[in-house]
Point group: C2
Chain length 247, copies 2
């Protein structure tokens, strides 16, 4: 039995943003496991089994990958973006912890995460200290999200929000915007980047005063500048230096 599991980041969408080490793992795989739209990005070939599954079944998916590897299969779990950022790597280790005694040959291969692809399109809005927050309250109470938003704003971090808004959670993003409006000035720059690196890509740069909840959906990553973030031409960037008194 020489099965293995690789959790591979396939980037935000464009083929040209998939690293060669991920492409090599995909080429050696016997089985591809993942959320339906991510598995759909993998080209079928003879001998390759595709196992698309639904959203919110991450633990089942991870357990099934462990089982397949134990049977000698070479399994790639595909994650959009980077597998370690609000994605399948944590789910795999949760499943491993529950599968006591199972030794598996596991590798995690990083990928281009959505916030960095979006930041690159906009300029360099995350060019100074920043944080990444998952706005979904599927796995944590919204009070923790609010708590983190306040600390992020008071620490003057630029911010990236993943999963800002979905049909089943239409109100959370409005609450997040309300907190930002209390903590930051109305001119704070925000970027709504949707479907970055795909043909459907859109990029919208607004101030916090102009931002509305409907600007975000599940395919959007939202970036918020820090107090020094500014425009130059069509670009948005955060300066590297920070000399003025924050504290």
């Amino acid at each position: 039995m020489s099965g293995w599991i690789t959790v591979a980041g396939i980037g935000p969408g464009a083929e040209a943003q998939i690293t060669p080490e991920v492409s090599a793992a995909l080429a050696e795989a016997t089985d591809i496991v993942g959320y339906v739209p991510y598995v759909a990005r993998i080209a079928p070939r003879p001998g390759l089994r595709l196992h698309p599954s639904d959203n919110r079944v991450e633990l089942d998916r991870a357990r099934s990958a462990l089982d397949m590897a134990a049977m000698g299969r070479r399994v790639v779990i595909v994650s959009s973006g980077d597998p370690g950022v609000f994605a399948m790597a944590s789910a795999l280790f949760e499943a491993l912890e529950a599968h006591t005694g199972q030794e598996s040959d596991i590798r995690i291969l990083p990928g281009i995460t959505a916030m960095l692809a979006a930041a690159a399109r906009a300029g360099a809005p995350l060019g100074h200290d920043f944080c990444a927050i998952n706005l979904s309250d599927n796995l944590k109470p919204f009070a923790i999200i609010e708590h983190r938003l306040r600390h992020a704003a008071r620490g003057d971090f630029a911010m990236a929000f993943y999963n800002p808004r979905s049909a089943s959670r239409p109100d959370g993003f409005a609450r997040a915007l309300a907190i930002l409006r209390k903590e930051c000035g109305p001119d704070r720059l925000m970027i709504f980047a949707r479907a970055v690196s795909t043909p459907a890509e859109t990029l919208r740069i607004v101030t916090l005063a102009e931002a509305t909840p409907d600007m975000a959906d599940m395919r959007t990553v939202v970036l918020v500048g820090n107090r020094a973030t500014r425009r130059v031409g069509r670009w948005v960037y955060t300066p590297r230096s920070d000399r003025e008194g924050l504290v």
Copy 2:
């Protein structure tokens, strides 16, 4: 004149972590600009001019790239990791802002940033909300760093520290550790990842109580878990869910 500038992320070190779009830009370039060790990673070829420069001259380097592009050259500014994370993209926009009136054809191409490469090697320590802080006080007062460390800890963010310690700034990291010791428990997990993805790679997992300043240098990225970060076998991961009362 059809010059352009691309700021390209060449990842933390391994060739296999350079995206195809970055490789394509490098292949089209007439000029490569960047910090000495990053330019040294680019294979020379006839017609390609290499312009290595020293650390701390980022603005001069960006200005010279703008001048070359204005003369019709195809310039790639290489950044280790991702160009938008404590790297050359912000420096380029600072230079562009000062170069009033200069219209340039600019692209930023994302790369695998050090914290995500390091996290992948360790497991999934950044699998929940996290922040990235540059610990260098070359461009900001250390009081701002301390302020951000406190907010990051109180918001229970996992953390990634870039530029934790250098020969010219030996004491800052000790001060950062002292703040973490006040804010977090002694069992908080930390990862010192040095030269990730290169032959010199080392990975060291310790508790906050065990951490000492000499574990970090300029080639190290330091990761700090949140209050739920744990070990499973040789791995470190942060669970996706957070149900217990933080607030």
